[in-house]
């Protein structure tokens, strides 16, 4: 991630470093106050909240998964430490690690049983699980201490005088910083890009070959590990573990913090929790009014600052990245071998035989056979509602076939759409499906993730393997961008570029997956003449490299000197096939488009 370290940004970074330093020396600063241990406690609890909110942010903000069980995960983590350290006599550090592991396992179990649920229902399942977990703990007998909970949880080594309260406080600050770094490194890696891709559009993520279910499990487990750790730290800090920690009422503070700071921003959760902690501290004497105040702040934030503080800043003139100047000759630095490997020109890549797709009584696709060959530009045209898009969805397995067969490189195509994508068929949807809140470069990189052979751990720890793979991918992404004339726009948010550039970017992102067949659904709609030329030359380059480019179009003019072959579809059937010139003169095609039935007598 290249940032423009300028003016305001520099001030912000200096400010953050100062804040970290302040936090580290906080115990010394409050030594002379009348109640240092109380102040330390307040800040420590806030630190735990910040870690938990980061976890919530990964899950909800970046992953788009509605979790109402984060307080429950925290409780589970707390009990893990309490049981292992107090009852089993484990080493405290080991117990803390275990709390993260157990948090992750808990999260995995929950998401595995709820993969089929849509997002609203997923939220409800997490709510139910939270309640079950609390009930279980309350009735766990000896093991969990029932309603009273478990007491006497101490910092590793405190009883024997090995670690002071201040010492443990510093450990917690360090863990918070690490949690932030983990979040940052994950988000700025293939893992994070896939997560955001899934949040923005599960369909598009699938088209890029991402397995939605597998990735959701990963996201939720990472979030669970952090939440479990936060719970473990909290129980050590307050000295006990009790079921009430899991109460959703206590979760309000995390939601307030997250929304105040900014959902789906890196610094948002930390900043938000810090602010909430300050507010909470200011109104500490008011007891029952606390929830009232917090709730009101939350509602007001949503009304006044819908994106939160960091989100609003990012969207503003000051906080949003700008395009950079491209050095003369820079484009020459990026070379790209666009040729498709292991195919020969003219080879049949995909063959559909008698494909039928009925929706109830509607015969959307009614027996279509078509061949896509390497190195050709294949146009598919037809009037509105003729079944073009349904055909593509059937070929790429987004729809189950009513009958017929699809062969991909000589074998029956896999039934899962993301597998078809992995086997080399990438589609670009008619409606723009860019990941709008993500940068232009990251959009392209999302398309490349299948080439990045590194694990979550490589990404978190920025291992040499990650760094090598990443720099190679970035260079390739820039090469692709330069092919579309978009060099210099890498850091812009994809949502902020022009409509035509978005369409081009989407094509680029699809090319980044190294497809053998690239399916573009009405790519020319709404493009300016210049952008149309860029797109045309890009498609020519791709086809020359052996790729099969399938264009679904209304605009036959656009296909005229681009397509090698055009298939015309009407009412779910092929009515003509041939060169664009032949097709354009075909009377059946004109009829299909303009309607030739002569009703003039009947209507007279």
């Amino acid at each position: 991630m290249i940032s423009t370290f300028k003016g305001l940004n520099r001030v912000l970074i200096t400010g953050s470093l100062l804040a970290i330093a302040l936090l580290y020396f906080f115990p010394i600063l409050i030594k002379s106050s009348n109640n240092p241990s109380f102040y330390l406690q307040v800040v420590s609890v806030a630190v735990c909240s910040a870690i938990l909110t980061i976890s919530l942010n990964i899950c909800m903000g970046y992953g788009g998964l509605l979790s109402l069980m984060h307080t429950g995960m925290q409780m589970v983590g707390g009990y893990a430490v309490a049981i292992l350290a107090v009852k089993q006599g484990w080493n405290g550090w080991l117990a803390l690690v275990a709390s993260a592991v157990i948090g992750a396992i808990f999260a995995i179990l929950v998401i595995l049983i709820s993969l089929r649920a849509t997002y609203l229902y997923f939220g409800m399942i997490t709510l139910a699980v939270n309640l079950i977990a609390m009930e279980a703990v309350r009735h766990g007998g000896e093991l969990t201490g029932g309603y009273n909970g478990l007491f006497g949880v101490f910092a590793p080594g405190i009883p024997s005088g090995m670690m002071s309260a201040e010492g443990f406080y510093r450990v917690m600050i360090t863990i918070l910083i690490l949690a932030y770094v983990v979040q940052r490194n994950l988000i700025f890696s293939g893992f994070g890009r896939n997560t955001m891709a899934l949040r923005e559009s599960s369909e598009t993520a699938t088209a890029l070959g991402i397995s939605p279910n597998m990735h959701r499990v990963k996201v939720f487990s990472v979030s669970g590990a952090l939440a479990g750790l936060a719970g473990g730290l909290l129980s050590i800090q307050i000295g006990y573990a009790v079921a009430d920690i899991g109460d959703l009422n206590n979760g309000l503070i995390f939601f307030v913090g997250l929304f105040l700071g900014g959902v789906g921003t890196l610094a948002g959760p930390v900043l938000g929790v810090a602010l909430v902690a300050v507010i909470d501290f200011t109104i500490r004497g008011t007891g029952q009014y606390r929830t009232l105040v917090l709730g009101s702040i939350l509602l007001l934030t949503m009304i006044i600052l819908p994106r939160g503080i960091v989100g609003t800043y990012r969207a503003s003139r000051y906080g949003s990245p700008r395009s950079r100047e491209v050095m003369p000759g820079e484009a020459d630095n990026y070379h790209l071998d666009i040729a498709v490997k292991n195919v020969t020109k003219g080879e049949v890549l995909l063959e559909a035989k008698d494909v039928v797709k009925h929706f109830g009584g509607v015969h959307a696709v009614d027996g279509i056979s078509v061949q896509f060959k390497a190195g050709e530009v294949h146009g598919i045209i037809g009037p509105n509602g003729s079944g073009k898009s349904t055909l593509i969805s059937a070929l790429t397995r987004y729809h189950e076939l009513t009958s017929g067969s699809v062969t991909l490189l000589g074998v029956e195509a896999d039934k899962k759409p993301f597998k078809v994508a992995r086997d080399g068929v990438t589609r670009v949807f008619q409606i723009p499906h860019l990941f709008e809140r993500v940068s232009v470069l990251d959009n392209v990189l999302t398309g490349m993730y299948r080439r990045d052979k590194y694990s979550i751990f490589d990404a978190i720890f920025r291992t040499p393997r990650y760094l090598k793979a990443n720099s190679r991918s970035v260079a390739e992404a820039k090469a692709l961008l330069s092919l579309a004339g978009m060099l210099g726009m890498e850091e812009l948010a994809a949502g902020s570029i022009s409509h035509g550039q978005k369409r081009l970017l989407e094509v680029i992102r699809a090319v980044a997956t190294e497809p053998k067949i690239l399916i573009l659904d009405e790519p020319a709609t709404g493009l300016t003449q210049d952008e149309m030329h860029s797109l045309t030359s890009l498609i020519r380059t791709l086809a020359a490299g052996g790729m099969c480019v399938v264009l679904i179009e209304h605009n036959v003019a656009f296909l005229m000197d681009l397509a090698d072959i055009v298939t015309v579809i009407q009412s779910g059937k092929v009515i003509a096939e041939g060169t664009p010139q032949a097709v354009q003169k075909d009377e059946r095609v004109l009829e299909a488009y303009l309607g030739n039935t002569d009703f003039s007598k009947e209507l007279a």
């Binding site: 849509t118 229902y121 949503m302 819908p306």
Partner: protein
């Protein structure tokens, strides 16, 4: 198993069913599962305690005040929820806004009633005997109310123009607009009716089940559970789901002991969500 257990389950189930119905009323035009809904239950319980229990008001006056107060609460709730939802682009806006509204109402109740549980005397202290099992008139009233609310809601949605409009908005807000149906007043109406319904059941049921000022979220969650088992947005589902968890809770409670009742409810919820992800009568929804 004794009949008493089933009758108790039927009563508890009716309470949950009415709560779920009131949530369905709000859900239909808004696609929002309202976390603050249970606070309406507390309002009913609190007013019953205050007006009937403490101030000894006659029943009719108390009910009139209750309906007015509930309508007001529904009106305020609609603003608290819909304003952030309309202004914030976030997909999670509804849940955060309704949660915040729930917390605000809850703390308001907590501030007013410290260390109080809302259990005033039964409105009608009389028992009916059915084959040896006891059913208090109070409980019978709740069961009857469930049936009345279900039928009234069903008839309203099916037979009146406004009711049909609500179903139309639930299906397609844009097409409703071009037919001249105003969506905003319909949403307000839904919040107000939903709150009145749940406040009434809170009023009727609180003498039997002891209600704490902070218990709103508990009732919300029970209502959610019922609605989800039955299928979100389906009145029929709300009733089936509500009765199911009420009876299940009662049966399991008597069989294995108190704590297992709640367990079994959520366990059934989890199983149903896995086997039938859209509940018994629900359609596939994405919510907001």
């Amino acid at each position: 198993m004794s009949l008493q257990i089933w009758i108790d389950g039927l009563f508890a189930g009716s309470v949950f069913a009415i709560i779920a119905l009131s949530m369905t009323i709000v859900y239909q035009p808004t696609r929002i599962m309202n976390f603050a809904q249970g606070e309406g239950f507390i309002l009913g319980a609190a007013l019953g305690y205050q007006l009937v229990g403490v101030w000894k008001w006659p029943l009719i006056q108390s009910l009139v005040v209750l309906v007015i107060a509930a309508a007001l609460m529904g009106f305020i709730m609609e603003r608290m929820v819909m304003l952030p939802v309309q202004l914030s682009g976030s997909k999670f806006a509804w849940i955060i806004a309704t949660l915040a509204a729930a917390m605000i109402f809850q703390s308001a109740f907590n501030i007013k009633y410290v260390n109080v549980t809302f259990s005033y005397f039964d409105l009608i202290e009389k028992d009916i005997s059915i084959f040896g099992a006891k059913l208090s008139v109070q409980k019978l009233l709740v069961i009857l109310m469930m049936i009345i609310v279900f039928i009234a809601n069903d008839q309203f949605l099916k037979r009146t123009l406004w009711g049909r409009s609500i179903r139309a908005i639930a299906h397609n807000p844009d097409t409703s607009t071009i037919l001249g149906i105003p969506t905003k007043p319909v949403i307000k109406l839904a919040f107000i009716t939903g709150t009145i319904v749940i406040a009434l059941v809170g009023f009727l049921a609180s003498p039997v089940i002891i209600v704490a000022p902070a218990a709103g979220l508990f009732f919300t969650i029970q209502g959610f559970t019922a609605a989800i088992i039955g299928g979100v947005g389906s009145p029929k589902g709300a009733v089936v789901g509500g009765l199911m968890i009420g009876i299940l809770d009662s049966v399991v409670r008597s069989w294995l002991g108190g704590t297992w009742g709640l367990f079994s409810t959520f366990f059934v919820l989890a199983v149903i969500l896995i086997l039938k992800p859209n509940g018994f009568f629900g359609k596939r929804v994405e919510g907001r």
